[in-house]
Structure formats: structure tokens, C-alpha cells
């Protein structure tokens, strides 16, 4: 493992920012830490970078214990949310800074600065001051500065937080391309689940100073281990019911079959909105109910419906739309709704 975090605890007075975090990142892997505000993402990143010393636990970089090592001994490149470029230095001087601190010879510095600026497509911007660049360009300078010295690990703390959506999307792809090209082990922070799904090899979902689950994006989406993960990643219907003899009684849908081996008792079931069908399409579905449409939202390639089920409770349905399709239902209308049982996922720690 390139990076291993073992049992990290960090308290600020009464607040426990990190309550025992374990995490492994493989060489060349892009791992995203996803979590709501205040969940401890930045604190974890700062612990890895060396700006925070944990109360308990260890940080290993390439097998070496660096828990107490100062930041400059760790060879870690970091991009801050607000870029933290040096405003009094030109773009080239900013990018050269980590090389100069490592006392690289002057011609090597020059060559590598040019290379790094080319890598982020900012050739010819070397003489400008940071304030003469747009937000996206500043972000790319920060990125060039963080990778120019060939760090063992790249840390990115919500690097696109301040950018508009279009720019965000193009930078997401650019960062991913750069990361693959340089085979950089990367720890990326975001609270945007869509961003996490797009960019990551694996995602670690964090809540209240703990890691809830780690896994590949598709895996987390389809098989969330906890209610929090199911809710935080994508849109979800979480249905509470009680299991007996391989079936669960769910208000509004009656008894639905469960995967084999499910013990009796209370269960939480995850049903993604896109698994639901309504009206005529629902007829072919094994599990069916009926509900009143409370609200419809047109989203272009799909429509989102909020429905009140006849047996009680609400569900969210997402229905694919072709350009020629009429609106799937009107608000206030009562329609059939159904799904296939294989689309149900039992949330283990509901």
C-alpha cells in the first residue's frame, strides 16, 4: 500500500473530528473521500499531509511511518480549496517553488516548470501573476505546482469548490487524465457525490469522523452497506419493513420476495428511483402498488415523480424519456407503480 492510515483519532476539545479512521490507498489509485460538511474530510487530509498530528493512530507512506514527520519531509503534493497560490510570485515562480526548496539545479527547474505548465495546458502563462488568471487557470497552476516535484501522493481538498459547473466538469476530466498519465496515487476530497462517482477508482464515504464504507463507485451505488451511504450516494427510496420466511412486508407494495438467506426481523430495503415503473409499464412488474402523483419534475432525458403510496409512505421514481414521449403522468393522478424484486437491495446496517 502506498498510503496506509491506521486507527486515526483526532479531537478538538469536545469535538471528535476523526473517530478511528482506517484507510488504504494502492499505488496509482484515485481514491475519493466523500462526506457531508463537518464529517472530518479536511482533518483527515491534513493528517496525511502532516499539518495535523493525530491523537491516536499512525500514517504510513510507502511503508514508512510518517505520523510525526513534518510536512516538508513527506513529499506530498497538496491542492487547497482556495488554491493558496503565492500572489507575489509569477506562475512560473509558483511552480518552481517546490523544486527550488529541493535545491534542484537551475536548468532542471526551468525544464520541469515548462513541462508541468504544458501538462496543465498553461504554456506561455509563466510570466503572469496569479491574480491575472481566471479561477480555473489558477486551479491548474496549483495543480502544476503540486505535481511538478513528482510527489509520492497527491492530495486534493475540494479543488473545484469555487468553480462553475462547466469548468468543474472539464477540470474533473483533466485531473483524471493527469493522474492516469503520471500514475499518481491520489486522495481526493469532495462533498459532491456526482463528482465522486465520475472520478474515482474507489470511494470512501465518511460521516461524523468515521468511514462508513469503501468501494468502487458502482459497488457502493448498488450495494451500500449502511443507510447513510444509501442515502448520500445517489437518490434513494429506503423502505422499512419486516422479514419473515424469505419475504418482507412493505407498506404500499405488500409482500416482496427477498434474497435467499435473509433472517427474519426488521429490514431496510433500498430501491433506486430508476428501478420503478408506472402506469402501463408497471403491469409487467412482479411487485406492484398504487399511488397518487404529488409532483413531477422534467429533467430532459428523464422525469422525476414523487408519489404518495396508497398503503402509506412516499416514493421517488425516475422514468427515462425519449424526446417524443408525452409527460408520464399528471400531478394529482393516481397510477400503478411497480418494480422487479431483483432491483431491491437489503441494506445490511439499516
Amino acid at each position: 500500500m502506498e498510503l496506509s492510515v491506521k486507527g486515526i483519532v483526532r479531537r478538538f476539545g469536545p469535538v471528535t473530528a476523526l473517530g478511528g479512521v482506517d484507510l488504504d490507498v494502492a499505488e496509482g489509485e484515485f481514491l475519493t473521500i466523500l462526506g457531508p460538511s463537518g464529517s472530518g474530510k479536511t482533518t483527515l487530509l491534513k493528517t496525511v499531509a502532516g499539518f495535523e498530528i493525530p491523537d491516536e493512530g499512525r500514517v504510513l507512506l510507502g511503508g514508512e511511518d510518517v505520523t510525526l514527520a513534518p510536512p516538508r519531509r513527506r513529499d506530498v503534493g497538496m491542492v487547497f480549496q482556495n488554491y493558496a497560490l503565492f500572489p507575489h510570485m509569477s506562475v512560473a515562480q509558483n511552480v518552481a517553488f517546490p523544486l527550488e526548496m529541493r535545491r534542484r539545479p537551475r536548468d532542471e527547474v526551468k525544464r520541469r516548470v515548462i513541462e508541468a505548465l504544458r501538462l496543465v495546458e498553461l504554456e506561455g502563462y509563466g510570466d503572469r501573476l496569479p491574480r491575472q488568471l481566471s479561477g480555473g487557470q489558477q486551479q491548474r497552476v496549483a495543480l502544476a505546482r503540486a505535481v511538478v516535484f513528482g510527489p509520492r501522493l497527491l492530495l486534493l481538498d475540494e479543488p473545484f469548490g469555487a468553480l462553475d459547473r462547466k469548468l468543474r466538469e472539464s477540470l474533473q476530466l483533466e485531473v483524471r487524465r493527469l493522474q492516469r498519465q503520471l500514475r499518481l496515487t491520489t486522495l481526493f476530497i469532495t462533498h459532491d457525490q456526482e463528482e465522486a462517482l465520475i472520478m474515482s477508482d474507489r470511494i470512501a464515504v465518511m460521516d461524523k469522523g468515521r468511514i462508513e464504507q469503501v468501494g468502487a463507485p458502482g459497488d457502493l451505488y448498488a450495494h451500500p452497506a449502511t443507510r447513510f451511504v444509501a442515502d448520500f450516494l445517489g437518490e434513494s427510496n429506503l423502505l422499512d419493513g419486516s422479514a419473515s420466511a424469505g419475504h418482507a412486508a412493505i407498506p404500499g407494495f405488500g409482500a416482496v420476495p427477498l434474497p435467499a438467506g435473509q433472517p427474519d426481523g426488521g429490514v431496510t430495503l433500498l430501491l433506486r428511483p430508476e428501478a420503478l415503473r408506472i402506469a402501463a409499464d408497471a403491469a409487467a412488474m412482479p411487485c406492484r402498488g398504487q399511488g397518487k402523483v404529488l409532483e413531477t419534475v422534467f429533467l430532459g432525458q428523464s422525469a422525476k415523480l414523487r408519489m404518495a403510496l396508497d398503503g402509506g409512505g412516499e416514493v421517488l421514481a425516475r422514468l427515462p424519456l425519449r424526446p417524443s414521449d408525452p409527460p408520464p403522468a399528471r400531478e394529482g393522478e393516481t397510477v400503478a407503480v411497480g418494480f422487479a424484486p431483483e432491483d431491491l437491495h437489503v441494506v445490511p446496517r439499516g
Partner: protein, 266 residues
């Protein structure tokens, strides 16, 4: 829109009046320094360079000028050398009680200079520092330190500490961070502080009267000149002094873009 125009004109008029008030002494002193009369008379009866000539020919004036430049320079170096690290401590330290110390740093401005002079006279007499130019410089440092602390702490408070973290993460040691990242961005504050330290010493009379003894600084020499023989030499010296300050001010704005203005408004 009209309202705004009127208020702008009024503001301009006000500023003009204040400037006139500030420049009025110069408008009197400058003509007198070129007077042909041998006593202070305004307006002067005729033109002559004689008072400048007299200043240049009199070694006691030149000595006093050189001494004052030396005193002010040493005072600036000492005030900056002590004041900048002190300010870092006052702004950055999380020790309890530092906030009180922060206020105390302004004490020399509040204590009447004459009290300070008497106190320092006692100390300096015992140390046999009376009449030594560097003794005066040390005393002036006490007066200059508050300027340094006030100006530099304003700059330091406006500085984004995340940059120091970024620099550390990029491999910089503490000295490198301070020297390459923090201090360059404090340059306007530093230049302003150095300028004010220099001027406060160069222009200082009360401490110099008590401590400089026979080896006079320029303000002391001017004071003595007025007491003994009132002639327009003093006007010529004043004009030269003003020119020197103007040059220093020019250098300040050259090396500390935004110095003396941004540090305070930021």
C-alpha cells in the same frame, strides 16, 4: 447622480484646504531660505543663496546632519530587527496574556516623551552613554518600535496563513517560508514601518536634548541655533530636511507599492 457630484466637489474642496494647511509652512519657509536679509523677514526683500552656502560651509551643521542620518539609520535597523520578530510573536502566539502585551507595545507613544527622556537620562548617565550617537539611536528605537508593531501587525493579520501551510507542504523549511512567502507579502507594511521609524528619529528633539550632549543631532542643532542667533540658515536647513524626507518618501513608494496606504486600510 447630482447628489454624488456635489458631495464629490465638496470633498475635493475639503481635501484642497487640508493640503493648503499642510503646505503653508513650506510656502513661508522656502522663500525665507532664499532671502537676502540677515534676519527672518517675510516676504523676503531679495534673493540670495547665502544661507545654503552658510549651511554647507559650517562644519557643525554638516556634522549634525551626518550624525542625524546615522542615528536615524541605526534606529531604523534596530526598530525593524526587534520589532518585526516581536510582532510575529504578538500576532501569532496563542499564549495567554499576549493580548495585553500587544497593547503594551504602544506604551512609548502614550508616555510623554519628556518623562521617557528623564528616565532614560538616568539610565544612560550611569552607562556613560550620554553624548554617544548610538545611545540616542537606542533611545529613538523605543519611540519607533510602536510604529513597527502597529504597521506590521496590521499587515500580518491580513495575511493568509494557508499560504505558509502550502509552502511547508511544498517542502519549505520555516526560515524559507518566512523569507520567501511571508515577508515579501508584508513588504508594504515593512517599508512603511521603516520609513516612519527613520523619520520619527530624524525629526526627534526632546530625547536628543537630554541625551545627545555636545554631539548634537540636526533638530538639536536647529533648536540651539534659534536660541542663539536667529538667521535664515535655519530656513535653508528646513528646506533641505524636507527634501530629504521627500526623497525617502519617494523611495518608500518605489519599493513598497501601496506602502503607507494599503497597510492601514486593508
Amino acid at each position: 447622480m447630482r447628489r454624488r457630484r456635489v458631495s464629490q466637489i465638496l470633498l475635493g474642496l475639503f481635501a484642497g484646504l487640508v493640503f493648503l494647511f499642510l503646505l503653508l509652512p513650506l510656502a513661508v519657509v522656502f522663500p525665507i531660505s532664499l532671502s537676502s536679509a540677515s534676519y527672518l523677514q517675510f516676504p523676503p526683500p531679495g534673493f540670495s543663496w547665502q544661507w545654503y552656502q552658510r549651511y554647507l560651509d559650517d562644519p557643525s551643521w554638516i556634522d549634525a546632519t551626518i550624525r542625524s542620518v546615522k542615528v536615524a539609520s541605526l534606529c531604523t535597523v534596530l526598530a525593524m530587527g526587534l520589532g518585526v520578530p516581536l510582532t510575529f510573536f504578538l500576532v501569532r502566539s496563542r499564549l495567554p496574556g499576549v493580548r495585553v502585551l500587544d497593547r503594551l507595545a504602544a506604551a512609548p507613544i502614550i508616555v510623554p516623551t519628556i518623562i521617557l527622556s528623564i528616565a532614560l537620562y538616568g539610565v544612560f548617565a550611569r552607562l556613560q552613554l550620554i553624548g554617544e550617537w548610538y545611545g540616542v539611536a537606542v533611545a529613538h528605537t523605543v519611540l519607533a518600535l510602536p510604529f513597527v508593531v502597529i504597521l506590521v501587525s496590521a499587515g500580518l493579520r491580513g495575511f493568509d496563513e494557508a499560504q505558509e501551510q502550502a509552502a511547508a507542504g511544498l517542502g519549505a523549511s520555516w526560515p524559507a517560508i518566512i523569507w520567501r512567502v511571508t515577508l515579501p507579502q508584508l513588504r508594504p507594511s515593512l517599508v512603511s514601518a521603516a520609513f516612519l521609524s527613520f523619520i520619527s528619529s530624524f525629526d526627534e528633539l526632546v530625547l536628543a536634548m537630554f541625551l545627545s550632549g555636545a554631539s548634537m543631532t540636526l533638530p538639536k542643532k536647529m533648536f540651539d541655533n534659534i536660541m542663539m542667533e536667529i538667521d535664515p540658515t535655519i530656513a535653508a536647513v528646513s528646506v533641505l530636511q524636507i527634501l530629504l524626507v521627500a526623497v525617502a518618501l519617494g523611495l518608500t513608494s518605489l519599493f513598497g507599492r501601496g506602502a503607507l496606504t494599503t497597510t492601514i486600510t486593508r
